[in-house]
């Protein structure tokens, strides 16, 4: 019920449907829809929120029987789970893939068995796009593009030369798609805007590593004024390290403050935005349940669903120095994004 | 000299802190049995290991049939026609008897090992040597004696020119030794040169043609066996004259009071599957021997008393008080000590130093929270190194780098240090040189004089006759008799062991 951001977002892709807010039992018919859902794991709060959303929406109350499988971050487990679902004759398969690639064989098996597959969150790369029915998810590269665009405009507005931006990138776990997209977004912007990329090191999406890496970078004595953390947990660690070294964290780069940028926008992350410790937190929305529900309803009713559907994601800042940014979306089109100012209500509305 | 098949010249070998061999020469002729003699730690095993490539050759040369050879590994040695039984049984417990006999030279059918042939040939080999073992049985399940026989069988079955036997007879009984000797003579007649290491002088004179003596890593000399009397041989080994063993018992009076409460009184103690319920009483100051054929259950008997295998029937009284022993520590607390028969498996703690090996039992008895001070440990270790003349570079040397006999002495020291009231010695003289053997026998009698109760197990009946005041006889896991006083003679013992009226030992069958 607290899907505030879900409600706020509008599908950027062709789907013009308004989001169906409450899920009614499908078509009133007695038989429930069986759906096999293969989840990545439970490696972060974000993921846990995502699982909760799926389980909550696709519940027996709403006319579904869900077979849930946790893959423990292993692609091979997901492949096994999918094969299992096929043998169980499920009606639908929902897949939140550990990785983007490597799905050809098993998706073909599902197709042969006549089971529609809905991919959520990460995109899959397959040789034949008809192997899955629909995809709904985030675009990590666009997230990176947006955040960097915001930084560029912020510097312009505050009269800071782009070449004076000395940025540190605390990357996510190397090879994770969120890391790849967000790092790419940054690398592009560094090239385009002439920023100095002082250091680039992985914080493995954790607070402890984020802290350790930040400490080490600080000791190198290089000048830093922006820290680009690829998730909230890393940002918390980086902030601790900065403060322990006597630096001031904030947006006032000109007066020696160090700006921290982050992704995910969890409850704790937004709290830090409000405190002024995180300058910009770019959202990554985990609430896929209602979207999948909506799609299945359509498919059951024999309607067509869009093949690709991006979840629109917000950006959060302490104030509205920059109210909107225009950046390239997943398809390379320039898109306008609003920046939301964090208030207590916004924080309260975050369930994860 | 024309028929010398193996000649070693100027062999030296140093270990950290020890010069194990210095400039030793050795020659072996075709078709002779050549005894290699010396005290514990004289360097016999080391010489053999240098010869067979276990250790690198540091200096000197080895020639075989006039050709210079260098063995880098036992594999090379085997290729050069030298096959060896090393001092400690060295086979693989996880493989079957048959495999142990044939590994590395398995009969094959095409590409594959022919298991039928392995088993058949093993069976034949075992039968030829009268070894009681099923080729398909796991080696680890065989007793040490059988394992030793299997190691010998493996070595002799290879068509070798030189056969080396390093103390092969230490766990064998007379029958088996006799079998081995028959075999050795046969091989000799076929022209094989045999190097034979043993501490049993009788055996040397029974089969050997020549004798080479080592002392402290140096060559004393090589002699024709017929020209070297026993006394001189011992003198050469020890470097001093030596009074014969025969009479150590005199001077020790038998002060045992058979009417006193026994120190140990086992009533109906037994362990299912290994030893049937038996009664045994041991008094203060008494040395009681256990005798029987190989596998008669002597070891099992003492293990059941000591709690090494928890007894599942009967009661044990210590000094008249009924006690319950669940584990060895209980027995130790009641004043017992147990020197196990398998030194390598149950005795030494290989990587620990001599000092630690000596004090470990006492320390265990004292408990974890009463660590002995370093000074106490050093004193204890030094005392026993001195007392038992343990040959070691220092008290901090790991026990594994001591010679076999010296390891045994360390284990004896371990138990003497705990000052037990009742001491069980299972084959304490195995692998120990003549001089030390006498020392140990004397020691046993001294301990008895001090009022300790002792149970003594040995494969040598003479040795037991010299030390024991009473003997219990076992057969097939049953205690079948007890002998004392005048009954203590070879003939009576044999009679009881055999269980028949005609006396004399028969085959185990």
């Amino acid at each position: 019920g607290q899907a505030t951001s879900g409600g706020k977002s509008t599908s950027s892709s062709s789907s013009s449907s308004s989001s169906a807010s409450s899920s009614a039992s499908k078509g009133g018919s007695g038989k429930s829809v069986t759906i096999g859902f293969s989840q990545v794991g439970a490696e972060s709060d974000w993921r846990t929120a995502s699982t909760k959303s799926m389980k909550g929406t696709l519940s027996s109350k709403n006319g579904y029987t869900m077979i849930f499988d946790d893959a423990q971050q292993k692609q091979e487990n997901q492949i096994k789970a999918l094969r299992n679902f096929i043998q169980q004759d499920v009606d639908y398969i929902a897949l939140d893939p550990v990785t983007e690639s490597g799905w050809d064989t098993v998706l073909k098996e599902a197709k042969d068995a006549g089971i529609p597959v809905i991919i959520v969150d990460r995109m899959v790369k397959v040789s034949d796009d008809s192997l899955y029915t629909a995809w709904v998810g985030s675009d990590f590269k666009a997230e990176g593009n947006k955040a960097c665009e915001w930084l560029k405009q912020y510097a312009d507005k505050k009269g800071i030369k782009q070449s004076d931006i000395n940025i540190v990138d605390i990357q996510g776990t190397i090879g994770a798609s969120a890391q790849i997209g967000r790092t790419e977004g940054l690398n592009d912007a560094v090239k385009a805007n002439g920023w100095n990329l002082v250091a680039q090191q992985t914080g493995e999406f954790t607070q402890a590593k984020g802290q350790e890496v930040m400490e080490s970078i600080l000791k190198s004595g290089k000048k830093i004024n922006v820290v680009y953390c690829e998730n909230d947990n890393e940002a918390f660690g980086a902030i601790d390290a900065l403060e322990a070294a006597g630096k001031k964290v904030g947006s006032d780069i000109k007066n020696g403050e160090i700006m921290v940028m982050s992704f995910d926008s969890t409850n704790a992350g937004l709290t830090d935005v409000k405190n002024g410790k995180i300058a910009l937190d770019t959202e990554c929305n985990p609430l896929y349940g209602p979207r999948v529900d909506e799609m299945i309803k359509k498919l059951e009713a024999g309607q067509k669903v869009p093949h690709l559907q991006y979840i629109d994601e917000a950006m959060f800042a302490k104030d509205n120095t920059i109210p909107t940014v225009t950046a390239k979306n997943a398809k390379g089109e320039d898109t306008k994004y609003d920046v939301t100012v964090v208030t207590d209500d916004v924080i309260k509305g975050r369930s994860y | 000299m024309e028929d010398v098949i193996l000649e070693m010249k100027n062999i030296s070998k140093t270990f950290p802190g020890v010069k194990a061999l210095s400039n030793v020469d050795f020659a072996l002729r075709k078709g002779e049995i050549h005894a290699l003699m010396g005290e514990n730690g004289a360097g016999k095993s080391t010489l053999i290991k240098v010869l067979t490539g276990v250790y690198d050759l540091e200096g000197g040369s080895i020639t075989m049939a006039g050709k210079n050879i260098v063995n880098h590994s036992p594999e090379d040695a085997q290729k050069n026609g030298i096959s060896t039984v090393y001092q400690e049984v060295n086979l693989c417990p996880n493989l079957t008897v048959g495999e142990n006999l044939f590994i590395g030279r398995e009969p094959r059918k095409g590409l594959f090992i022919d298991w039928n042939a392995v088993n058949k040939r093993s069976k034949k080999l075992l039968d030829d040597l009268n070894i009681e073992a099923n080729p398909k049985k796991l080696l680890g399940d065989c007793s040490i004696a059988v394992q030793q026989m299997i190691a010998i069988a493996r070595a002799v079955d290879q068509n070798c020119k030189v056969l080396i036997l390093d103390e092969p007879t230490s766990s064998l009984d007379d029958d088996e030794v006799a079998k081995l000797f028959t075999l050795m003579r046969k091989l000799r007649d076929n022209g094989v040169g045999i190097i034979f290491v043993t501490h049993f002088l009788e055996q040397v004179y029974e089969v050997c043609d020549r004798i080479t003596v080592l002392r402290n890593g140096e060559l004393v000399g090589s002699y024709e066996a017929s020209e070297l009397p026993r006394v001189q041989l011992v003198a050469k080994m020890m470097g001093k004259n030596f009074d014969d063993l025969a009479d150590i018992k005199s001077g020790h009076e038998n002060k045992v009071d058979m009417n006193s409460t026994p120190v140990i009184d086992a009533r109906g103690i037994g362990h299912t599957g290994t030893i049937h319920p038996f009664d045994l009483a041991v008094h203060k100051g008494e040395v009681i021997g256990l005798t029987g054929l190989l596998g008669a259950g002597r070891s099992e008997m003492v293990r059941a008393i000591y709690g090494a295998d928890k007894a599942d029937s009967g009661q044990l009284y210590v000094n008249g008080k009924k006690v319950k022993i669940n584990k060895p520590l209980d027995a130790m607390m009641l004043g017992m000590g147990y020197l196990p028969e398998d030194r390598k498996k149950d005795g030494i703690i290989a990587d620990l130093s001599v000092r630690e090996n000596i004090i470990i039992a006492l320390q265990a008895k004292k408990g974890m929270f009463h660590l002995m001070s370093r000074k106490e440990m050093d004193e204890a270790a030094d005392k026993f190194i001195d007392l038992l003349q343990i040959k070691t570079a220092s008290r901090e040397t790991p026990i594994k780098s001591l010679s076999g006999g010296n390891q045994q002495k360390v284990i004896i020291a371990r138990w003497l240090l705990t000052n037990p009231d009742y001491l069980i010695l299972d084959e304490p003289t195995r692998g120990i040189d003549v001089g030390t053997k006498t020392e140990i026998q004397k020691l046993v009698l001294d301990l008895a004089d001090q009022g300790k109760a002792i149970t003594f197990i040995s494969s040598e009946i003479e040795e037991m006759l010299r030390t024991c005041s009473r003997m219990a006889v076992l057969r097939d896991g049953y205690k079948v008799g007890e002998l004392s006083g005048d009954q203590l003679n070879q003939a009576d013992i044999m009679k009881t062991i055999a269980g028949s009226e005609n006396g004399g030992s028969e085959n185990a069958k």
């Binding site: 096999g36 989840q39 439970a42 077979i67 849930f68 499988d69 946790d70 423990q72 971050q73 292993k74 692609q75 091979e76 487990n77 492949i79 096994k80 094969r83 299992n84 679902f85 043998q87 004759d89 990785t99 983007e100 690639s101 490597g102 799905w103 050809d104 064989t105 073909k108 042969d112 068995a113 006549g114 790369k125 040789s127 190397i174 090879g175 790849i180 | 276990v54 590994s73 036992p74 594999e75 060295n90 086979l91 693989c92 417990p93 996880n94 079957t96 495999e99 590994i103 590395g104 398995e106 590409l111 594959f112 090992i113 049985k137 796991l138 399940d141 493996r154 599957g273 290994t274 596998g295």
Partner: protein, 348 residues
């Protein structure tokens, strides 16, 4: 007395197989309505684990010598990544990729084998370094995922081999049960290695070394070259297994096959291989893989556990299995010993 003749290895293997059968049949009864009884469900165990089976076989070989290899997961990742990279970015053929996979495996085997055998470094540490190295090198090739789109490769990967039985699904479609060629390869490897272990000099030497390395030296076996060969063979099988793994996932990425070494080790151990060496069979290892696969499959079929309960239940079942095996194995062997002693006595 027939049973007493069973060797320790045979006895452990028997336990493993019986326990697998019991578990699987129980699953078929409990989850009858959920497709667990379908033949394809069983075949899927092989399809999804073909790579793991081959890798675990290699690991079993080094474990029999008393060694271990924890680099296999990383080697798999490296193999997948290199294969993906040469096919997608360098335009090489799938045959070349297979060749490369085997070369990589061999290279790991040779280097690790040399360090373990000739410099006598502890295998755990060397292969731990190998694990770091392989994973790092994977990232050096590319930190991005590479999807394999090579035609020939996909043809290999998707070549279903239909079996003459199947079932009719809900939509009325008759679905033939099928396997992939990878399964055949894996089973052939199992059979070949089992024959090698049982019937070749090399195979028996492996057991001798694991039983007592020093004795093996003194018995005149060439311990060094045997151990070296064991590691090389293990590396080769890791390369081959990695390639089969790749055929299943058709991609290369840094995090791939993480923790695969633990799966392989536990499969081998459940199958009756001792980490201390000297005991083990690859048939047992195969069943080890099937058992862990079945446990996973049971959990997936059940389908209502939350993420953390999946882990907990998985390990409870693993624990149950290992403990049961330890108890049955321990008790059985003890009883057998006694039986043996009695026979020995009877013949005396």
């Amino acid at each position: 007395m027939k049973k007493a003749k069973l060797s320790k290895t045979g006895f452990l293997l028997l336990i493993t197989i019986v326990m697998f059968a019991v578990m699987y049949i129980a699953g078929m009864i409990i989850f009858q309505d959920k497709g667990f009884a379908k033949p394809q469900m069983f075949l899927n165990l092989f399809i999804s684990n073909a790579g793991l089976i081959v890798i675990a076989c290699g690991l079993t070989i080094v474990m029999i010598t008393g060694g271990i290899d924890i680099s296999v997961g990383s080697v798999t990742a490296l193999v997948c990544m290199s294969a993906a990279d040469v096919m997608e970015n360098k335009g090489m053929s799938a045959v070349f990729a297979l060749f490369l996979a085997l070369i990589i495996g061999l290279a790991f085997g040779v280097v690790q084998g040399y360090l373990v055998t000739y410099l006598k470094i502890q295998p755990f540490i060397i292969t731990l370094a190998g694990m770091f190295f392989g994973r790092g090198l994977t990232a050096v090739i590319s930190t991005k995922m590479i999807s394999i789109k090579n035609k020939m490769f996909l043809a290999w990967a998707n070549e279903k081999m239909y079996l003459p039985f199947g079932y009719t699904n809900r939509h009325g479609v008759l679905v033939h049960a099928y396997i992939y060629p990878t399964v055949v390869i894996a089973l052939v490897v199992v059979v070949l290695i089992q024959i090698m272990l049982k019937f070749s000099k090399f195979g028996r030497a492996l057991f001798a070394i694991g039983g007592n390395e020093q004795s093996a030296v003194l018995m005149g076996l060439n311990v060094k070259s045997t151990k070296m060969k064991a590691y090389v063979l293990d590396g080769f099988l890791a390369g081959l297994g990695g390639f089969l793994f790749c055929l299943n996932s058709c991609a290369g990425f840094v995090e791939q096959a993480k923790g695969l070494e633990m799966d392989a080790i536990s499969a081998a151990v459940i199958g009756g291989t001792l980490l201390s060496g000297g005991v083990g069979t690859v048939v047992g290892t195969l069943f080890g893989v099937l058992i862990t696969g079945t446990i996973q499959s049971l959990i997936t079929t059940q389908g209502t556990l939350s993420s953390w309960w999946v882990r907990i239940v998985l390990s409870i079942m693993l624990c149950f299995f290992i403990v049961l095996q330890a108890i049955i194995g321990g008790a059985g062997l003890k009883k057998k010993d006694k039986g043996k002693e009695k026979t020995a006595k009877a013949t005396t």
